[in-house]
């Protein structure tokens, strides 16, 4: 999250109680002891995998299912934005308010409530006069696309570095650990704001026009740089205890290569924390991207962008608060749903833990 406390997510993971929790956090990955007794009993009856058990528990959790539906809805409208645009008959670029006289008076929508009407469902953007519904839809599409990309690269980086550090230990562990310490000391808001323009200037000569996709790549790069550490630390800790276990020992004795042990023995056993952390990471990236755009270093006009709507609204909200309303409410809804989903996913993997 690109709120003022964005740095903390990384550190929170390292708090002693949290670390203690995560060790006992994952019933699916404990192949012996109490848990497996339970599992063996159920597997004798039905033969369900931990994943299936988790899914069965998740389906019973009504809050979880509803929030999953809301989250899916957001991804669906993002994905199908072009289709919706065709049915709705407008696009996010045309300046309807300026082209059609009478829609805007002195920059502001002529009709009350930001110009909401059967033609413009969410009203008209003050100033440029674009359709707010389409702006928001495409803004959600672009922001979610960026957030998913950043999440994927961050999770992959965290898996590679975290598992390598935990499994090989020694010098690799030391350097990865110090590198994480270094990155965590960066003030991350300032880092994003300072380095998006710098990386942009490195990649594109000042007189050239920057293509929108390159801007997106730069945002992904900069946010990825400070996005992976918390998960990597978590995975390192998990792998550290896993590598002492008998099944890893057995694989080693039977002559498996380190790469095979990591791929076949270790990574499947840390899928639970990866999945749980991912559901917390993605909404944080969404708010971070929006915050970046709010500060004026995100995607640039005319690419529609969720966060930039807040920056635009800051100029107009004194006379037209409706324009601020829709992107704001949509974002609160999305973040609430995603946080609830994260809690439910965690509960489904670990039914013992109280909310």
């Amino acid at each position: 999250m690109f709120q003022e406390n964005s740095a903390r997510g990384h550190f929170a993971m390292t708090s002693p109680s949290q670390a203690a929790v995560t060790e006992t956090d994952t019933p699916g990955l404990v192949p012996d002891g109490l848990n497996s007794k339970k599992k063996r009993k159920t597997s004798a009856l039905t033969g369900r995998s931990p994943g299936q058990l988790m899914w069965a528990r998740f389906k019973r959790d009504r809050t979880g299912v509803i929030s999953a539906c809301v989250v899916l809805f957001f991804f669906a409208i993002g994905l199908f934005a072009p289709v919706i645009s065709k049915i709705y008959g407008k696009d996010p670029y045309t300046r309807y308010g300026q082209n059609t006289p009478g829609l805007l008076i002195n920059q502001y929508p002529a009709q009350p409530n930001g110009g909401i009407s059967s033609d413009f469902w969410f009203g008209i953007e003050p100033g440029l006069g674009r359709d707010v519904f389409m702006q928001l839809l495409y803004g959600i599409r672009n922001t979610l696309g960026l957030a998913v990309a950043i999440t994927i690269v961050s999770v992959l980086t965290a898996i590679v570095l975290g598992v390598a550090a935990g499994y090989f230990g020694g010098r690799i562990d030391y350097f990865v650990g110090r590198f994480i310490d270094l990155l965590m000391a960066f003030p991350n808001q300032l880092f994003y704001v300072a380095f998006v323009p710098v990386v942009a200037a490195i990649l594109v000569a000042p007189e050239d026009e920057m293509p929108p996709w390159l801007r997106a790549v730069i945002i992904i790069l900069v946010m990825w740089f400070l996005g992976w550490m918390s998960l990597a630390r978590l995975l390192r800790g998990q792998v550290l205890s896993l590598r002492e276990r008998e099944f890893v020992e057995a694989a080693k004795v039977s002559g498996a290569s380190p790469w095979r042990i990591i791929r076949r023995e270790l990574v499947p056993n840390v899928m639970t924390p990866i999945l749980v952390q991912t559901t917390y990471m993605l909404p944080n990236f969404v708010t971070s991207i929006a915050g970046l755009s709010f500060l004026g270093v995100g995607l640039v006009e005319p690419t529609p962008d969720w966060g930039r709507m807040f920056a635009n609204a800051a100029d107009y909200y004194r006379n037209d608060i409706t324009y601020l309303f829709f992107p704001g409410v949509a974002m609160v809804l999305f973040i609430v749903a995603f946080n609830l989903l994260g809690d439910s996913v965690r509960d489904a993997f670990d039914p013992k833990r109280a909310r």
Binding site: N5, F195, V332
Partner: protein, 325 residues
């Protein structure tokens, strides 16, 4: 304790050096000329060369880095005049000494942070503990769902709404502004009231959630059960035993939040147009003003590291089992 502090300070210096090197070299890797801005619109090559010389931009980048870093310890002499010991150079954009600018702006960020932190720590912990105390009741459900929704709010969404409601439409409060507390304590308080509240809405909600789950986790611990079995009153168990154990995650997060906020609460400052460190760093980034970016970056990073060390030192006081080594 002293050995711990010494070792951690050494580590901190290494990290600050690396951060400064990273910032400096990446900044100069971009083919932009910071002198162009200082030079103004009608800029001839001669004038540009003079500005390059004055700013020290004619030297190779590693030499510039060395001059910059040694200047922090020993001070430097510029064309503008001597720059005493904590010298971060002169701003490319305004020509002011960077350190003086930071010292000027910091009280604003400090006021914003301390006031906001006081609100969110007290209210957040109180509501979180009440929710844990009354776990499962209506109060708990109200607090939990309110904190869930509020913690998903964004400052750039809530801020304008609060301003529109309280300032522009009803005139209940004045436009947020910063007045030094030494000049006018009442004005200082009233001017920062809205930023404090908006900043702490989100934090309060997060602290409520955190305090609640930390307390509930503690209440399931063995030592709490033992205390109950001994026949201690529910209140003693709650406040003496569970409370102490739940402090560690809270102190950790609080230290991190405070350290981050001291380096500039960017979004809050921009939303309310408060000229603190966050706004300063925004402006300096837009102006390609390297000395100021470096100054604020190091200043903010130093706070993050400082609070990190403080948090680790605090563990030893909270939990006697923790040994600092």
């Amino acid at each position: 304790m002293l050995r711990f502090l010494f070792r951690r300070s050494l580590g901190a210096i290494v990290i600050l050096l690396l951060i400064s090197a990273f910032t400096f070299f990446l900044f100069f890797a971009a083919p932009r000329d910071p002198a162009l801005l200082a030079c103004g619109r009608n800029c001839g090559p001669d004038a540009l060369a003079i500005i390059h010389k004055n700013l020290g931009l004619d030297e190779p980048v590693p030499v510039q880095y060395w001059n910059f870093m040694s200047g922090i310890l020993t001070g430097r002499d510029f064309a503008q005049g001597p720059c005493p010991a904590p010298c971060f150079g002169y701003s490319f954009a305004t020509g002011d000494a960077v350190w003086n600018t930071i010292v000027d702006r910091f009280p604003i960020t400090l006021s914003l942070t301390i006031g906001g932190a006081a609100v969110f720590l007290l209210v957040g912990l109180a509501t979180g503990m009440v929710a844990a105390w009354k776990q499962g009741t209506l109060i708990d459900k109200i607090f939990s769902s309110a904190s869930l929704v509020l913690s998903s709010m964004q400052i750039y969404f809530v801020g304008p709404i609060v301003l529109a409601l309280l300032v522009y439409n009803t005139n209940l409060l004045g436009q947020p502004k910063y007045v030094p507390i030494t000049e006018d304590p009442a004005g200082w308080f009233m001017g920062l009231l809205i930023p404090w509240c908006v900043l702490s809405i989100i934090f309060t909600a997060q602290y409520t959630r955190m305090a609640r789950s930390a307390m509930i986790e503690q209440l399931q611990e063995e030592h709490v059960r033992t205390a109950r079995a001994k026949g201690m009153s529910a209140r003693t168990v709650f406040f003496r035993y569970a409370w102490r154990g739940s402090l560690i995650p809270i102190v950790t997060i609080f230290g991190i939040d405070l350290g981050t906020l001291f380096g500039g609460a960017m979004i809050t400052e921009v939303t309310f147009a408060l000229p603190g460190l966050g706004t300063l760093s925004m402006q300096s980034v837009l102006n390609t003003d390297l000395p100021t970016v470096m100054g604020v970056m190091l200043f903010a990073a130093a706070f993050i590291i400082l609070f990190n060390i403080l948090v680790d030192a605090c563990y030893a006081f909270i939990d006697p089992r923790v040994r600092l080594s």
